[in-house]
Symmetry: C2
Subunit: 341 residues, 2 copies
């Protein structure tokens, strides 16, 4: 049945008034969205940008170029409309929901903010697991519940958390079976000295949690509240057949965990971009996803997902609105006369 549906969509694309395959990767994107939504005339409805925020005990170990307070400050910036993801979500009419999954400092209640705090930041993974198994399970459950409460058939993933490129690197190394040094990059902007220090710290963390090998054990030991919440969001959105737009290295790490739990979730995913963070290309390779954009972004927040969003809308519009050769009365390649064969 799936093969028949795929053949139908490919036939529709091939009959559009253009040479076969001339819209390149936009055609593959159209097929992917049609498959996720089970609709050969797909319509993306009420897209939701979900930005999960949390703090990291490891941030106290000097693994980030920014102080941990920036997580809290940036959540305010998201909500007041001045951050990159706020600007881009507004441009593309993406509903923006920010979740406090466990930021160190609390927030006053405000529109657009969901409070699903597990604790004021994770524990220091150099000393103990970043989360207890119970905290991790609660964060995943929160992510599932949040998605159940959101309308629409498309979910764009975003995040904020000073120190979370460390969690992503650790999860990639552990679950992908990769050398840690390859997975660790400058994040928001460490210099060479800072990067060397980050590699040393993360190497100790990985050794400390040698036994955390299952997806959930690794997530609890090495992850973060925002990453675990995103894992739940991805699992729920995938099971509901929403189109999931993955942002950068951190949201990609959440998809990697979800994929390790349920390999088929990546069938519901679109990789928006490949970032400048060196581990991201390795992560996308692990997921078998091909990025739409390569703009050397390294911001996170969901900014890359938002930038790629209009390409998804275009892909659907091509399928729905382009004329066929027959309907438009355009000659096909095979009808070419002798002189122009």
């Amino acid at each position: 049945r799936d093969a028949a549906f795929t053949a139908e969509v490919l036939r529709l694309l091939d009959n559009k008034t253009k040479p076969v395959g001339a819209l390149g990767r936009l055609e593959a994107l159209a097929l992917r969205i049609a498959q996720v939504l089970g609709d050969a005339q797909p319509v993306l409805r009420e897209p939701q940008m979900l930005v999960c925020a949390g703090d990291h005990g490891l941030a106290g170990r000097g693994v980030s170029a920014y102080p941990a307070d920036v997580t809290w400050q940036m959540v305010h910036n998201f909500l007041s409309g001045g951050a990159a993801v706020s600007v881009l979500a507004r441009q593309h009419a993406l509903a923006l929901t920010v979740v406090d999954c466990g930021v160190r400092r609390e927030f006053e209640p405000q529109p657009g903010l969901l409070v699903r705090r597990i604790a004021p930041g994770t524990a220091d993974a150099l000393v103990q697991g970043a989360m207890t198994p119970e905290q991790c399970a609660q964060a995943i459950a929160n992510g599932r519940e949040i998605v159940r409460g959101l309308p629409g058939n498309a979910l764009l993933l975003g995040e904020m958390g000073i120190g979370n490129s460390s969690s992503a690197a650790l999860l990639l190394a552990r679950l992908g079976g990769l050398d840690l040094a390859q997975c660790v990059g400058p994040g928001t902007g460490l210099d060479a000295t800072g990067l060397r220090h980050k590699r040393e710290v993360l190497s100790e963390v990985l050794a400390r949690h040698e036994q955390a090998r299952s997806p959930l054990d690794a997530l609890a030991a090495l992850g973060g509240f925002e990453i675990a919440t995103l894992v739940g969001a991805v699992l729920e959105a995938a099971s509901q057949r929403r189109v999931i737009v993955v942002d950068g290295f951190i949201t990609g790490a959440a998809v990697l965990v979800a994929h390790a739990l349920q390999p088929w979730v990546t069938q519901r995913c679109v990789a928006s971009h490949e970032s400048a963070e060196p581990g991201h290309a390795l992560l996308l390779h692990q997921l078998g996803l091909s990025p739409l954009l390569r703009l050397d972004l390294r911001l996170g927040e969901g900014s890359g997902a938002a930038l790629a969003w209009p390409l998804l809308v275009s892909a659907c519009a091509i399928l729905r609105e382009m004329a066929s050769f027959d309907s438009a009365g355009v000659s096909r390649q095979s009808e070419a006369g002798g002189g122009t064969a």
Copy 2:
């Protein structure tokens, strides 16, 4: 003065609430648009998609996978809203103007169509120059006049003309001083035999016009009415400081001619994408332009320019709407304390 303006825009970008450079190539794009418009808070107004169409005498030599009638048919498809560029222009609210620069068969007058016909198709460049110098000058003047009549501060370039990837390849080889074989590709979809034939024909054409070496001589001998009209459009738009969004191989060839006449025009240009046509990467290199998208498109029409358009809008929005560190009360990297340095 220009250096001071550039420094001002870079300072604005660096003070936005993100790590320096974290929006990657979007920041370079924002700077480029600000420079073209001379405005550090740039607003793109009334963007115009200009699709120039013309037929080619060389199409009778079997250099295209499609019959020449398709030019006329596709112009109808553009105007009735069923072509890729129609769908994408609608999505992004780009005003669409289609120009008959010299299609073999005439059109009834209709909304959205400008008639600036030089002749019903160019002459066969294997026998004589594709255009006379007078025809070529008239087409360039038409392009200038068309742009003077269009509102807005951004011009997106599109084209249609069965056989015009041959003209583009010939212009690239001649004006770029490149080996012709590198510049010739399958266009809309020639097979290996067709491609071999196209190379043989174009090699003869290039030898036949050995003397046509100046930009205008080469354009007249090897170009097309739609390409010459686009050259005029590019020259006029550049002199008016409009942002010019280049599409693929054919519109790129028009920019190459304009650049050979007035080297500074590329300062007003944004390259929307690098297509699957092998000569396009060489052409962009000649122009010194770096493409925003690489989606293996090979359709033309302006489809790639339309797909990249929202990235230009995003780049302006970042400059205009993102908060600064000071206005948002977010800590900078340099303020990081010892533990998080």
